[in-house]
Symmetry: C2
Subunit: 220 residues, 2 copies
DNA sequence: ACCTGAACACCGTTCAAGT
DNA sequence: ACCTGAACACCGTTCAAGT
């Protein structure tokens, strides 16, 4: 409320993260950001170039948290067990993203490659090279992993996210018979609540890719 | 220019696709959309509820093109060769998306599940079930594929997209040594131009997942 | 140097009015 | 019924002015 002077880029970005955590990125405007700091919107422009720079800064902050989480890991040396080392790294990144559900959307919105993201992928590649990957296979692996290396994947279709998937799908039963059957199959025991474990699904997809890469390691 | 009367939802959506194709979604506003139809912005609201409905309609149009492409495929019966059938379907979808580079971004921006997208995933699931998948494994496969089933994957880090990756990365060489070495390795022959083939990388990632699923088919 | 108020050029959208 | 003009409540951002 009261304007504590001494604004700084860091303070602006911390406030932006707080707003995004509470209200999502839709609620993050230059005016709301300024208000949360007890200041006028125009004051922000002395510390960040514009709103795009604020979003870039958001990526930096999240990547900082991820790097911190990765650094605190007690992972095996990649030379010993690259797969476990990679798995732990990705799941540590995922834990950070769970705290900032808006982060994937902001990552995707950035067109240029940020240094912080490049540095993270450099670490992922370094891990694989130490684990016995050629640069060529490492390159392909980065593409194959895509955003999964950072702990999230794109879900375009989420029957699980529906409030009442059974009713919703029943309404369009003839249009999507297999999805209806799939849910019926999953709920054969009775309760449908939480029938889909996102964390387990993420790990399944991740393991599928890591297993595939392990099979190619040393051969390509 | 001259207002040809006889606006309709379909005509509005076709115009919206044309604008997105030419200028990207940033250039798609209710005002620009109306102008391209020789009409005032407010006229649009007689045919679409609001801008969100326009974006939903964009998804419908693209999904329609994808379903059309899939229907025209001469793919093997899933019972005979589910992997080839799936591969052809995904790559056909990808060809449509290449024509509409803005589409992935719009897909991601939709929170609710659209009927058109649900129908597509229903087809994917049906293909797998006919190919010998249990509903349980089919469910996991849908998650593992994610947006890849529709022909695109999330690339958060694209050194390839840089105009001059060598110089750009050289500037931050000490921060990302492995990425620099990877590019040096890829350009050992000389020309770096087109060193990364996005289509090939997409197919590599897709095959990695399809191979993994094939190994589990019938066992889970 | 840092912060501010008023203003500008945009948005999506409501509303009352036209035909 | 369909289309319109003016207006409203927002955006991000520029600019000249304050301290």
């Amino acid at each position: 409320m009261a304007a504590e002077a001494g604004l700084s880029r860091e303070r602006v970005l911390r406030a932006a993260v707080a707003i995004a955590d509470e209200r999502g990125t839709a609620g993050l405007t230059m005016r709301s950001l300024a208000a949360s700091l007890g200041v006028e919107a125009m004051s922000l422009y002395h510390h960040v170039a514009n709103k795009e720079a604020v979003l870039d800064g958001l990526v930096e902050v999240v990547m900082g948290e991820i790097e911190e989480a990765v650094a605190g890991l007690d992972a095996p040396a990649p030379e010993e067990d690259w797969r476990t080392a990679m798995r732990m790294r990705v799941l540590a990144a995922r834990e950070v993203l769970v705290r900032h559900p808006w982060a994937p959307g902001v990552f995707e919105s950035r067109t240029g490659t940020s240094l912080a993201v490049a540095r993270y992928y450099d670490g992922v590649l370094g891990l694989m090279v130490r684990g016995g990957f050629s640069y060529e296979l490492g390159h392909r692996a980065l593409h194959a992993l895509g955003s999964r290396a950072l702990g999230f994947s794109q879900e375009l279709f989420e029957p699980d996210g529906m409030e009442a998937p059974e009713e919703a799908l029943a309404a369009m039963a003839e249009a999507v018979p297999h999805l209806v059957a799939m849910i019926a199959d999953a709920s054969h025991g009775g309760a449908l609540l939480g029938w889909c474990d996102y964390q387990a699904e993420f790990e399944f997809g991740l393991d599928l890719i890591l297993d595939g890469l392990e099979r190619l390691r040393g051969k390509v």
